[in-house]
């Protein structure tokens, strides 16, 4: 069983989450030191730290079976150079190329600035690719595509069957994506997951409001089966023209009776309030008789008269600290209009940069990689 308390303040660990505690812990995180420690201790500490960030809900046995000692990398080739040169100059002479200066001159030249030489020919940070196999997991990919605010949340989405792969529901968080796989999540769910939290909870509503809401929900659900689809007759809303006028019909789903409908917002709210006062006795009887059990849907806020469902599309606000994590790795192509993403290829390392996001420096990752090499 994975531990539930993951944002400890006393001993900060970086976690893959946008939670405020996670941000604070990331802010004050220090890389593990290596001074006065044996090599074994260094490796063990590095493994601990990195595993707390990468798939902490997976058992060590599970991760060990996923680990591969081969790491993917790419080299950027220049077609102009390849056209000019067939590569023989690199190995000409004694086998190390002719451009090399003679041995006796090497010592005399001024040593290059370390940072400059690093910029000119950066190394490929292969060790950063240690946890690349985890990036293939469906839950991690959903988090990377910015459809969830933490890997745990993404995992929950998968397990609840909210994530589709190539149009088919895949309730396995551990599904390993193949290059070219397209995965998607319901936009309403994504908007609530990475958006600002709603202000009012259901409990805080007045009794009358609850009753009204229940009626509206029942009415709305009887009309449209799916919460995402809007009726084709309602010219609404869509993408690209958020300013488009909203037909009054859509408000029927938002709890206002069609007979009492009014075009202006103020009138509609008035109507709702009058309706509320009028129908005070009737719905109570209905609920007390208890014909069928009422289930509060997760998107109940969209049925409130003040929060019609189109508003969520037009007035979405990002979650706190989202900007700190707003990046999409190169191996994904994401379309937030429809909350679909494509896993293009496996992540790779290239000169100077690796595609696996993590807060650890090269030394730590190298030690962690060595730890997992141990029994191989």
């Amino acid at each position: 069983m994975a531990r539930t308390k993951i944002f400890a303040l006393k001993r900060p660990y970086p976690r893959q989450s946008w939670n405020k505690h996670a941000v604070y812990n990331l802010y004050r995180y220090r890389q593990p030191g290596t001074a006065n420690r044996t090599f074994y201790q260094q490796k063990f500490r590095a493994k601990q730290e990195t595993r707390r960030f990468h798939g902490e809900y997976l058992t060590e046995r599970k991760w060990n079976s996923m680990f591969r000692h081969t790491l993917r990398g790419v080299v950027s080739m220049d077609p102009a150079v390849m056209a000019r040169d067939d590569g023989s100059s690199v190995v000409s002479g004694r086998g190390s190329g002719t451009d090399e200066p003679p041995r006796r001159l090497i010592g005399t030249q001024e040593p290059e600035d370390e940072e400059l030489s690093g910029l000119r020919n950066p190394r490929i940070p292969f060790a950063q690719m240690t946890f690349a196999p985890l990036e293939r997991r469906l839950d991690t990919a959903v988090y990377r595509a910015l459809f969830a605010s933490s890997v745990r949340q993404a995992r929950m989405m998968c397990l609840h069957g909210k994530v589709m792969v190539n149009g088919i529901k895949v309730p396995h968080a551990g599904y390993m994506l193949n290059p070219g796989d397209m995965f998607s999540v319901d936009p309403l769910l994504v908007m609530s997951a990475i958006g600002e939290q709603g202000r009012s909870s259901f409990k805080k509503l007045s009794t009358q409001a609850k009753v009204d809401l229940q009626k509206a929900i029942e009415e709305g659900q009887s009309k449209t089966k799916s919460s995402t689809y809007l009726k084709a007759s309602n010219k609404k809303v869509l993408a690209g023209n958020a300013d488009a006028e909203v037909d009054t019909d859509t408000f029927t789903a938002a709890g206002v009776k069609p007979t009492e409908e009014a075009t202006e917002g103020t009138e509609s709210t008035e109507a709702a309030s009058t309706k509320a006062t009028k129908a005070e006795t009737q719905p109570e009887e209905e609920t007390s008789s208890g014909k069928k059990k009422f289930h509060l849907p997760s998107d109940w806020r969209t049925y409130l008269p003040k929060h019609p469902r189109w508003k969520i599309y037009d007035e979405w606000k990002p979650k706190r600290f989202m900007n700190l994590f707003a990046f999409v790795p190169r191996y994904l192509e994401v379309n937030h209009h429809i909350c679909h993403a494509v896993y293009l290829r496996h992540p790779v390392a290239r000169a100077g940069s690796a595609e696996v996001p993590n807060p650890f420096n090269h030394d730590t990752m190298q030690l962690a990689y060595n730890w997992y090499l141990r029994r191989r």
Partner: protein
Amino acid sequence: MPPRLRPSSLPSTSNVIPQSFSSSPLLPFLLPSHHIYTVISSSSSSSRNFSTSKPAYRRARGFEKTPGTRNGFIEWMAKYAPRYNVPNPTNNVPVYMTYQPRALPSKKVERAPGMSRKKAKLDSIDWDTAKEKSTLSPFPGNKSFKAHPVISTEFREQIDLRIKAGRSVRRVSAELNCELERIAAVVRLKAIENKWIEQGRPLCTEMQTRVHAMMPVTHYTTFPQHESITDLRIHPATNNQLFLSVPESMAFNRKDASDAFGILPADVRMPHSELIEVERMKQAGVEVHEMIRIETERENREAEELKEKRERIEKRLKAGKVVETERFRFRLRPATAGAVGHRYGVPAEDRKRGVNKIPTRVL
């Protein structure tokens, strides 16, 4: 009780931002990296003659407040969190976690007479570069992870338009400097988007714009430079050293090297290998018309080959006897029993309790 000297009345040893930097736009870089022990409460710590220590029940273990943990967090949320929570960055410059990774340059710095060492070191920092680096690295401790820009919605439109105009994925990829896979993915996603618009499903335009405002974005220009399209995957066979004696007089080129490893040469394995031929023609001084003619010929040839391949696959699929039922379409092919299929009697674990069989591919 006689008045005691309390630690609160001693001069504060906490990290204090120098006055001269307090209005600097580079403030996040100048801040010390760890604020665990930053406690600034100068106003409250007045010298009083009576005891201000907490009552006994407050001093109990459960109530003890340590600066690094909960109180430190609350203080951080009040003081520093607003600096990091920037939902609308100006000019679409992403705001990522920043702190100065190294306090000051460790090497010696030449300084003018009368200038303090610290000042000289501070001046020697190239703040523009430091800021540039931190704008694209969300994790300041990890230099090798940089946020790569994503393509803007307009860029996506352009890709889709070009594909709809009948150009090949390969050509659009070379024109717009996007990876082949990315072009194909954008087209797939765009097709779904168009379907949704047709169906009248709402799109999350607001979310898309706000998300793009927070991250680096490549906008469409005439010659966009989005990413390298000729990334050659390092072949696992080349990870091991290979010793081969070659006569010094013989030229040993890429082709020979690939033969030694037993893999295809880089000129073939590289995506967009046709660009090498184009460059060769350029260097040979071939006229533009001629180059265009050759390229068009090559494209046509490739399109034909692809078409033939597809036909072959279709033919192969149709070859066997097809039995259609309500649910399945069985394609029957002749086979010999024993050579194909599972062995009977081998127990499968996947029906056991707690063991679920995760699919390896979804089509």
